[in-house]
């Protein structure tokens, strides 16, 4: 696949807002044109070329375009914003909003990501080798329409507010998470392979949560109904099955109330 390589050569004084680093924008452009794209450093309009050296070639469409950021993006926000296809690889860390409002394609961050990774995501795939800060796959502030589809896999730890207002898709945290998982969710699946401190599924209407480790403080709105064996993300285990959040409204289907499911490894 034709690859555009961006090599960071200057550390910005303020955070860079790079809404333009997506295969959709890069497709059909030459490296010289890509260097001319507008980004913002704080509120100041600057060019991508002021901070990155662009080389290689892009495909005709987003799906045929690969972006390789050969360096650290600790101060670069909005990588892959609203992307629909293609792929992005970041060799180091990335700042906030990686893959925000993403509809398709693939993003691989080899380091850590900051908050809001996969915010309001609709499709595609995000893979983070390191840790994520807060708000993985959450909704935009105030919005009741969170993540609808796609997959986010964080190989390390994640912070708080994972999958807030989630409607669909899958979030996998391979290590530990802090607090607030699937708050207000009405669908989707969150899998946590490690421990969670608490507030799991608060005001959750529908959807599934799997916790392989320990929940330190269980919410009182969840009730154990069963013990089940399930294969989750390639691992077979026995889980205690809870339903909830009993303090929240629940829709009815065929006369029966539908609850959110919380499975905790027995």
């Amino acid at each position: 696949m034709p690859t555009i390589t961006l090599k960071p050569y200057k550390t910005p004084e303020l955070m860079l807002e790079c809404y333009n680093i997506t295969p959709d924008v890069f497709a059909g452009k030459k490296p010289e044109e890509i260097a001319e794209l507008e980004i913002r450093e704080g509120k100041t309009r600057v060019k991508l070329g002021d901070f990155f050296e662009a080389s290689g070639s892009s495909g005709m469409t987003a799906a045929e375009t690969d972006i390789h950021i050969a360096g650290d993006c600790t101060r670069v926000k909005y990588i892959g914003n609203k992307m629909t296809a293609g792929s992005i690889t970041v060799d180091g860390n990335a700042d906030m909003y990686v893959g925000g409002w993403m509809k398709g394609g693939k993003i691989h961050v080899k380091g850590n990501v900051h908050s809001f990774c996969g915010i309001a995501m609709e499709g595609g795939e995000i893979l983070v080798d390191g840790n994520a800060e807060n708000y993985v796959g959450c909704a935009y502030r105030g919005d009741w329409r969170g993540m609808r589809g796609g997959t986010i896999r964080i190989k390390g730890n994640a912070g708080n507010d994972i999958g807030t207002f989630m409607l669909g898709g899958t979030i996998i945290i391979e290590n530990n998470a802090f607090i607030h998982v699937s708050t207000h969710a009405e669908g989707g699946t969150v899998i946590i392979k490690g421990d969670v401190q608490g507030r799991v599924g608060g005001q959750m209407v529908k959807g599934d949560i799997y916790v392989f480790g320990n929940i330190q403080y269980m919410l009182p709105g969840f009730k154990q109904v069963d013990k089940v064996e399930k294969e989750v993300d390639g691992e077979k285990a026995t889980f205690l099955h809870y339903i909830g959040d009993l303090g929240e409204r629940h829709p009815k289907s065929k006369g029966k109330e539908i609850y959110a499911n919380l499975y905790v490894k027995a």
């Binding site: 509120k43 935009y140 502030r141 105030g142 919005d143 009741w144 409204r249």
Partner: protein, 568 residues
């Protein structure tokens, strides 16, 4: 101030029965004049339509509930807030735009005035701060009265004179404009967790009915001779089958005659009538009763209405009808904010998505337009969206398009998932009426200006009136066959001159203009009983002192005061 000459446009001015004549409009010192000197700056309006500035009779554009909407809906700004422009302020939001965007958007559409439709008296300083912060357009605000403890007590005892003295005191203290009723009695009942869904439901504790409040405030209004009539958001808003209550309330105006010096003829303005023209006894057989309601309105010269058209957008509902917002939240399960305003009113805010693929939303859309098309007197029927309740005010051009073009209505109907069901429940498909530009000028300019009692200033282009002149890129002699062009023309005026100053050029803001706050200074004969009641209630019931209550002059630094003196 410089002289201007808007030259050679197709002038449409219903106040002088001018319909598309090619004329010049001369402007000097902020007023329209007979003619100007040869040195006047010429604005070429050749091949374009020239109208007076628009007058919006009802929108929620300033004050605490608008701000609650802004605060609790950050998502309303997401991807809808262009970056800062060179010379002008940042613009934010869609259904609850920032104050600057509000002023800019109205100006771009060639509007010169907007009425903030519900001012909680206790929070009137906030309302005025926001009004002052909104550039270009002139604004006024209607304080709400229909759930106010003083009013309920005076009207219960049939004391119209006392009610009038209190209303006059409050309008003047809050720099308000007239008498607004929101769910008469129902909002007061909400403090007990109840509502008044019919005109006979007694208000708890006060033991007065909505019907008594409505007639009492019509009488109060005519006793005072205010520029505007009483302005009512009726009981039982938004519920299937509510058209019967609507007709019953409208009939309460029968027999009353407007008494005022401002050229107003109506005694009742019934707002966002779309929300009150529903048939059926549930959402399953929900249907339009637009014809029944409009047939009655057509026969009654002392009633004006505004449409409250549903625009099929994602928006934010906000009203002093507290119980209704609670009910709405139970239907859509989104966010809900609710507040009580001590002794006076309440308010609620809930986001709402009018989805074209939901049958009920499609029917609501049709009802708003049917009302606009059935109206026999466009001078008494005004275009609104009850902004932001049925849609944002920035959709007025789209409503104009729908009213002016059957083709545009059919095109929208064709996008509905439940097109056939919407057609079955409404009459929109069978209506061939297409409104003319003259009628649109009546419904957006001359009509509302007359109903608000300032037709000597706004709504027309006669010499002596305020120089608010909008030029739209539409050829009167050959209207575009593509209705989208109508919407585009009204969305961004080619020119808009406000108070004699060019504020919009080619659809872009050119100046922050000279914004004014219009308020009514109502004087009545000294009424010791009412003054004693007011002081007593402030000592006993209010949590604020009376000296901290009124809106001080510095909050409305550019006032245009209309004096009303009952004695004079």
């Amino acid at each position: 101030m410089a002289e201007l000459l808007v030259k050679g446009g197709f002038v449409i001015d219903p106040t002088r029965r001018i319909d598309g004549d090619v004329m010049d409009v001369a402007i000097k010192d902020g007023k329209i004049v007979e003619k100007v000197g040869p040195g006047a700056k010429v604005i070429d309006a050749k091949g374009k339509v020239v109208m007076a500035g628009g007058v919006d009779v009802h929108a929620h554009v300033a004050g605490p509930k608008v701000n609650v909407g802004r605060l609790f809906r950050p998502e309303d700004k997401l991807f809808k807030s262009p970056n800062a422009q060179k010379n002008y302020r940042m613009e934010m939001g869609f259904s609850i735009p920032s104050t600057f965007k509000t002023g800019y958007d109205y100006a771009r559409m060639g509007y010169s005035f907007v009425m903030e439709a519900a001012m909680p008296p206790l929070h009137s300083p906030h309302v005025h701060e926001e009004i002052h912060d909104t550039p270009i357009i002139d604004e006024a605000a209607l304080p709400v009265f229909a759930n106010n403890w003083f009013v309920l007590e005076y009207l219960k005892n049939g004391e119209i004179e006392n009610s009038a003295a209190y209303v006059a005191w409050l309008i003047t203290a809050t720099k308000g404009y007239g008498i607004k009723l929101v769910n008469p009695g129902g909002t007061a009942a909400w403090a007990w967790g109840l509502n008044c869904l019919t005109l006979q439901d007694p208000v708890p504790y006060f033991d007065i009915t909505p019907a008594e409040i409505i007639t009492g405030l019509i009488k109060t209004n005519e006793y005072l001779g205010l520029p505007h009539s009483m302005h009512i958001h009726q009981n039982n808003l938004g519920n299937p089958g509510n058209y019967e209550v609507t007709l019953e309330s409208l009939k309460l105006a029968e027999g009353y005659k407007a008494k005022n010096k401002f050229g107003r003829e109506q005694v009742m303005h019934s707002t966002h009538i779309q929300f009150h023209s529903y048939g059926g006894d549930g959402w399953a057989n929900f249907e339009s009763k637009a014809k029944e309601v409009m047939d009655y309105v057509n026969t009654q010269k002392n009633i004006t209405v505004d449409l409250g058209c549903v625009t099929l957008d994602e928006t934010t509902t906000m009203t002093a009808d507290g119980p209704f917002e609670h009910h709405l939240n139970g239907l859509n399960h989104l966010k809900w904010a609710n507040v009580d305003v001590e002794l006076e009113t309440a308010a609620g805010v809930v986001p709402y998505v009018y989805d074209k693929d939901i049958k009920v939303c499609g029917i609501q859309w049709a009802i708003g337009l049917e009302l606009g098309l059935y109206a026999k007197d466009p001078m008494r029927t005004f275009i609104t969206t009850d902004h932001p309740n049925a849609g944002p005010f920035t959709r007025y051009p789209r409503i104009i398009k729908w009213l002016m073009s059957k083709k545009a209505r059919e095109a929208t109907l064709d996008t509905f998932k439940h097109k056939d069901k919407v057609i079955d429940a409404t009459n929109i498909h069978g209506i061939d009426t297409e409104r003319t530009l003259y009628e649109i000028a009546q419904m957006t300019r001359a009509g509302p200006a007359k109903a608000l009692g300032f037709s000597r200033m706004f709504g027309g282009l006669a010499p002596g009136m305020d120089a608010d002149v909008a030029v739209f890129d539409l050829n009167y002699k050959s209207m575009p066959s593509d209705p989208e062009k109508i919407e585009q023309a009204f969305q961004r005026a080619s020119w808009f001159i406000k108070s004699g100053e060019i504020v919009v050029k080619n659809g872009d803001i050119a100046s922050h203009g000279n914004k004014r706050t219009i308020w009514v200074n109502a004087k009545v004969k000294e009424n010791p009983q009412v003054m004693r009641d007011i002081h007593e209630k402030f000592l006993k019931d209010y949590t604020v002192g009376i000296l901290n209550y009124p809106v001080h002059d510095y909050l409305a630094p550019h006032p245009l005061v209309i004096d009303v003196d009952v004695e004079a």
